[in-house]
Structure formats: structure tokens, C-alpha cells
Subunit: 157 residues, 2 copies
DNA sequence: TATTGTTATACTCTATAACTATA
DNA sequence: TATAGTTATAGAGTATAACAATA
């Protein structure tokens, strides 16, 4: 994680690293989000799984794992827990009996909806610091920056 | 770390979580930064330490640890390595013989300058996707969002 | 008695390899 | 033989406790 001076302002003419700035805001968001999810008895990854299932339903475990960028072996324990909580259910894929399809239960959908509303309220409070132009620019900037450049696919990186 | 669907676009009318968007951009920046630092034989935290020392010199280890938000016990091994690389040096604090002051060597300053230029060039390439108004708004938005609200200091969180 | 730097230890998160049952 | 799910294991990163020297 990129970090930087938090409280004290850096006394320099140089600009601050963009990565440090983004990492700091990300940390602010995560720190604000965690107690909200804790109150709903959801982990960060649990919330991400529910969010993915709420939008594109009936994924297979492997597809879900790749979609949210979470290791498939770790997803298993996470799904076990969510299933124990009654938030998701797994059923064998009729087309391929090796695979299992995952979907939200009614309770899972309700839990996700409640958590998402908490999160969005928190985000709205944060975004209230910005004026309209800043908000619009921020959203478009986030969209522009969220994909890595496709040109350098076979470079040194 | 907040994650979300990367390649596929989520088919929903709902807005995407702000935290997920920021986390994604942060990851893009880190992924772009790491090979640059690797080429300079610097870890992410090593770069952060050099950056802190380059701006506010002659910190004590504890002050440095608190300033960059890195555990003081882990800072020791990191400083050992940077010292082995000849990038920093430690000397006892004449005012308090328990403490040790850390500062950049000439080589450390040069190494940091080179790495920082690489990082800034990468950032410039990314920011070139934005127009002037977006860039200005992004910077002011990042500054506004990077501090948590001071009102809720004694809440449930 | 409290604090700085240090070491040792435990805990969490993550990545890799191997096994089963299907295809 | 290859793949989906699972289990077990090892590694990196992080946090906590305890110790020596000094205040």
C-alpha cells in the first residue's frame, strides 16, 4: 500500500505522488466503510461477493472468482461462511456437474441492499465536500484512470 | 482491499461504489509503479521512506515511523536494508542517546530523485488522458477527500 | 517509571501445490 | 487429458509482547 505523511503537510515545492494521494483517499474510504459492514456482519470481500451476485446472478464459483479478482481457493471459505449466514446458496450446475452455481438468497439480497445504502450514504457525505463540477470531473477521471493503458501489454512490466 | 469487476462492465443501473473505483485506480497506479521501483531496486515502503527523508530530513526512527504510518518494529529491518544499500545513514541523536536520527546519503538522494522522476513520468502519461479542467478538479477533489471528517471523532467507529 | 530501538512471536492475508470428481 | 471445486501447505505482510539502554 502506498502511504504518505498523513497529518503533517509536506513542506516541499514538489508535487505529491499521485499514487500516495489515491492510496490515502482509498484508505479513508475503507476506514469509513469497515464499521458500516461490521454492523451488518459482512467482511469487505463478503460485501464484494454479494455485490457481484446482486448484479450478475447465478455465476459459477470460478467465474465469480475471476470476476471479482479473488483467488478461487479463498473464495470457498468465504462462500461457506456466507452460506452459513444464509446469504447465498450453491447448487450444482445442471449443464456441468463439476461446477456449482452461486446465487443470493432473499436474505442475502436484503442484507446487501441495506449495506449498500449505508455505504452510499457515507459516500454522499464525503462527496458533499465537493462542488458539482468537481464531482463530475472526479467521476470521469476515475473512469478514465481505472483501466491501464492497453498499448504496453508486452513490455518490461 | 476493495475490488470489483475489472474487465467486464457491470450491467446495472446502480452506481458503482466509490471505494471500489478508488481502489481500482490505486491498484492501477501501484501496478504501474512497482516495475519502476523494482528497476531502481527499491521496495514500495523503501521509496516511501526515501520520500519522507527527502522532504523532512533528520527524523528520529520513531518520528519517521509515525509520519509514514509504518510500524516502528518493521521500520528497523527496512532501514537496515536501505543502510546496506548505502541509501540512508543512522547516527545517535546527540540530544537523546536512546534515539537515532536517520537521513539520506548522497546516493540515497540521487536514487530517490531518479525513482521519483520515473514515477512522475508514468503519472503524467496517465493524467494525459484527462483534460485540463478534469485534472484540476481531480487534484482539488483528492485534497478534499484525503482527510476524514473531523466531526465524528468519538463515534461508534 | 517511561521511552527508543530492538528482537521474538503470533496472527492475518495471500499464493501455490496436490487431490476428487467430473468432462 | 483437462477442468471445477476442494484441501493442505507455505509464504508475505502485519500486529503484539518483551527486553536493553537511556531518560
Amino acid at each position: 500500500m502506498i502511504a504518505t505523511a498523513t497529518g503533517t503537510r509536506i513542506a516541499t515545492v514538489e508535487r505529491e505522488d499521485l499514487g500516495a494521494q489515491f492510496a490515502r483517499v482509498t484508505r479513508v474510504l475503507i476506514d469509513a466503510e469497515r464499521p458500516l459492514l461490521d454492523a451488518r456482519e459482512l467482511s469487505m470481500w463478503g460485501y464484494i461477493v454479494l455485490s457481484a451476485l446482486a448484479t450478475g446472478d447465478a455465476d459459477t464459483q470460478l467465474a465469480l472468482s475471476e470476476r471479482i479478482g479473488y483467488d478461487k481457493t479463498r473464495l470457498i471459505g468465504l462462500l461457506d461462511q456466507l452460506q452459513l449466514q444464509g446469504l447465498v446458496e450453491r447448487e450444482p450446475d445442471p449443464a456441468d456437474r463439476r461446477a456449482r452455481r452461486v446465487r443470493l438468497t432473499a436474505a442475502g439480497r436484503a442484507r446487501y441492499k441495506a449495506a449498500r445504502e449505508d455505504v452510499h450514504a457515507m459516500e454522499d457525505a464525503l462527496l458533499a465536500r465537493l462542488d458539482d463540477a468537481e464531482r463530475r470531473a472526479l467521476h470521469s477521471a476515475l473512469a478514465s484512470l481505472s483501466s491501464r493503458g492497453r498499448r504496453e501489454s508486452s513490455g518490461t512490466g
